[in-house]
Amino acid sequence: MALRLPSKVLKHILSFIDSNEDRNSVSLVCKSWFETERKTRKRVFVGNCYAVTPAAVARRFPEMRSLTLKGKPHFADYNLVPDGWGGYACPWIEAMAAKSPSLEEIRLKRMVVTDECLERIAASFKDFKVLVLTSCEGFSTDGIAAIASTCRNLRVLELRECIVEDLGGDWLSYFPETSTSLVSLDFSCLDSEVKISDLERLVSRSPNLKSLKLNPAVTLDGLVSILRRAPQLTELGTGSFAAELKPEAFTKLSKAFSNCKQLQSLSGLWDVLPEYLPALYSVCPGLTSLNLSYATVRMPDLVELLRRCSKLQKLWVMDLIEDKGLEAVASYCKELRELRVFPSEPDLDATNIPVTEQGLVYVSKGCRKLESVLYFCVQFTNAALITIARKRPNLKCFRLCVIEPFAPDYKTNEPLDKGFKAIAEGCKDLRRLSVSGLLSDKAFKYIGKHAKKVRMLSIAFAGDSDLMLHHLLSGCQSLKKLEIRDCPFGDTALLENAAKLETMRSLWMSSCFVSFGACKLLSQKMPRLNVEVIDEHPPKTRPESSPVERIYIYRTVAGPRMDTPEFVWTLHKNPEIGVSKLAIK
C-alpha cells in the first residue's frame, strides 16, 4: 500500500525545516518531495558560484527570498588568487532580476560586485531588504548610494572588509528623508569621512536601528553624539579612539556608554588609548561579543577590561594580550565559546610574539564552553595540543597557525604529529581544522582516520609525500573543502582519489608538485569537475611534467565557465589531443 503524504501536509512539515542540509536530504527522497521542497525553499545558499548556473537556481526555487553566494576560494583572502580570476556577481543579479523579482536578501562573499550591479539590485527588487557584502570588491560608494536611495525598505546594509573605491561620504545622505527601516548599518571598511550631521540625522530617523558599525573616520565626539541618539543599540562598532585626551571627553564618553543598556557586541576601537578604556566598563558586564583585534592595547589594560566581561562568549584580540592575559580570560570569562588571537606583527621574522602555547592551554582549561579557536603564535608543543584535546573535546573549529613554517615541538624537536592526532581523535565534533608546524605524513594518517566530521581542512608547509594527500582524501569522510599550499606532493594521490573530488565542494593546491599532465588527465577523466590551472607565469611550452603554480578543482553542474581570464587554463579552453602518459593505475 503506497502511503503518500498530501502535499499540503508535507509543505507544513517543511515549513519547520530551515537547515538547507536537511532540505537537501528531503529533496532526495522522491520526486514529489523534491517538488514540494523546492517550491517552499526561501533561503538559498550556493557555496561556489560556479557550481551551478544562476538560471538553474532561479528555476528551481521560485519562492526564493534570500540568496547567499560565495565566489573566490578562501585562499584569496591571503593574496593567493590573482586579480581578475573571477567570481562576478553580475550574471547572478541579472538572472535574479529577470526570474526572481521578489528577492529580498542578497549576501555575497569574496565576489566582484560593480556599481552597475548594485544599481541593478536597487532597481530590480521592489522589496529589497538585506545586502551583506563580505570581502567583496569592484564597487564604489556611488553603488552604495544607489542602494541607499532606492531601496525604501532596506533593513540591513553591511560592508564587511570590502575593498571599496571611496569617493567620499555623500552616500550617507542618500537614505530617504523620512524614517528608515534600517536595523543594521556597517560601513567600517570605508575610508573617508562622513558628515557627522548626516549620520546623526540618519540615526535619529531610524528607530529600529540595532547594529551600527562606524568607520575609523568617525571621531570620538561623533561617537558620543551618535550614542546619545541611539541608546538602544545592541551592536556597536566604534570609530577611531585616537583623540586628544581631555577630561570632559572622557566623561562624556563614559556617560554615553552607560546609557546603552542593551549593548551586547562591541568592535572597532581602532587606536584606542588605554586611558579611554574605563569609559567602556559600564557596558562590559552585558557584553557577549568583543572585538579588540584592532586595539593595540597592552596586557594589563586588556585584563582590566576583560575581567569585567563575565558574559563574554566571543573574544577577538591581538597577541598583545600575552599568556598572562589569556590566563585572566580563562578565569573571568567562563562563558567563552570563541577565541581568536591575531598577530600584532604578521611578519615571518616577527621576533616578539608575546603569546605561546601556554596561553591557549589556559583558556582550554578554564573555559568549558570553548568550541572555536583561531590562534597565531610562533611555536607549539605536542604536550600542549594533547592537553587542549583532552580538556576541550567539544571543539568544533580549531585553527592553529604556527607562524614559523616547519616549526617542530620546540621542547622535544619532534613533529607535531602526536599533538594533532590527539586533536583529531579527541575532538569528535571537529568540523574545521587548520594545521601548521612541522608535520609528517603520519599526522595526516591520524587526521584521515579520526577526523570524521571535518568539513574544511587547511594545510600549509606540511607532510613528506603523496601519502599525506592520499590519507586525507581516502580518510576524511565529511571533507568538503580542502586547501593546501606548499606541500610536497603531486599527481599520484590526486589521480588515485579523483572520485572523492566529486563529493567535495572544492580542492585548492598551490606551490605543490602537481604536473600539468595530471591536470589534463583529471579534466579528461572527470567531466563533472572543473579543473582550473592558475598560472600567472606559465612556461613558454608546457611539458606534461611541468608543475603548475596553482590548481583549483571544484564540482559543478554548470559545465566549464566562460569568464576565465588568460591566466586560467581549463580543458575546455585548451583541449589538447592525446592522453597524458601519466595515467597511473
Binding site: F75, D77, Y78, N79, L80, S135, E161, C189, W270, D271, S293, Y294, T296, F342, P343, S344, E345, P346, D347, L348, D349, T351, F376, V378, Q379, C401, I403, E404, P405, F406, A407, P408, Y410, N413, S440, S458, A460, F461, D464, S465, D466, L467, H470, R485, D486, C487, P488, F489, G490, T492, E496, S511, C512, F513, H537, P539, S546, P547, V548, E549
Partner: protein, 186 residues
Amino acid sequence: MEKVGDYDELVNLKATELRLGLPGTEETISCGKSNKRALPDDDTEKEIESTGKTETASPPKAQIVGWPPVRSYRRNSIQTKKNESEGQGNYVKVSMDGAPYLRKIDLTVYKKYPELMKSLENMFKFSVGEYFEREGYKGSDFVPTYEDKDGDWMLIGDVPWEMFVSSCKRLRIMKGSEVKGLGCGV
C-alpha cells in the same frame, strides 16, 4: 593497501623535495632556520633529512606570499599603523675620524646597504671601496663600522640589513691606521 608502498620511492626524489618557492624554480629560500630561536641541534637535522626534506640556510629571510595567513584587510590596517608610528624614524649618530663634528642619519630611510653607503659617502665626501665577505672593504682608507647593542664595533655589511638596523646604535667611519686587521688592504 599495496599501492601505498610505491610512495616510498617518491620520498627521496627531488620531485618531492620540500622547499619554499614556486615549483620549477631552483631558488632555495630558508624559512625553517631562524636567527631568533635556538637552532635545532644535529638530531633534528638528521630526522628532517630522513623524511626527505632539505634545509638550506641563507640569512635573508624571504617574504612568503600570504603567510602568515592574515587577511589583507587586517594586514593593511596594521601596516598603516606601523608606518604612522615609525614616522619618527631611527636616527643614529655618525662620526668620521678626523671630522670636527658628528652627523645623524635616519636608518629607516634606507632599505639596503648600498643606499646607506652612498648616503654616507655623500655626507662625508669619501668613498669606502668595495665590500668583500671575507676581506672586508678594499680599495679605500675608510672603513664603515657600527656599534651594536652589545657595545662591540662591527664592520657594516656582514649581517642582514634588518638585523643591522635593529642592532645598530651608532656609526663610525674609521680611517687609516686604525683599521689594520679589518682587511683594509690598499
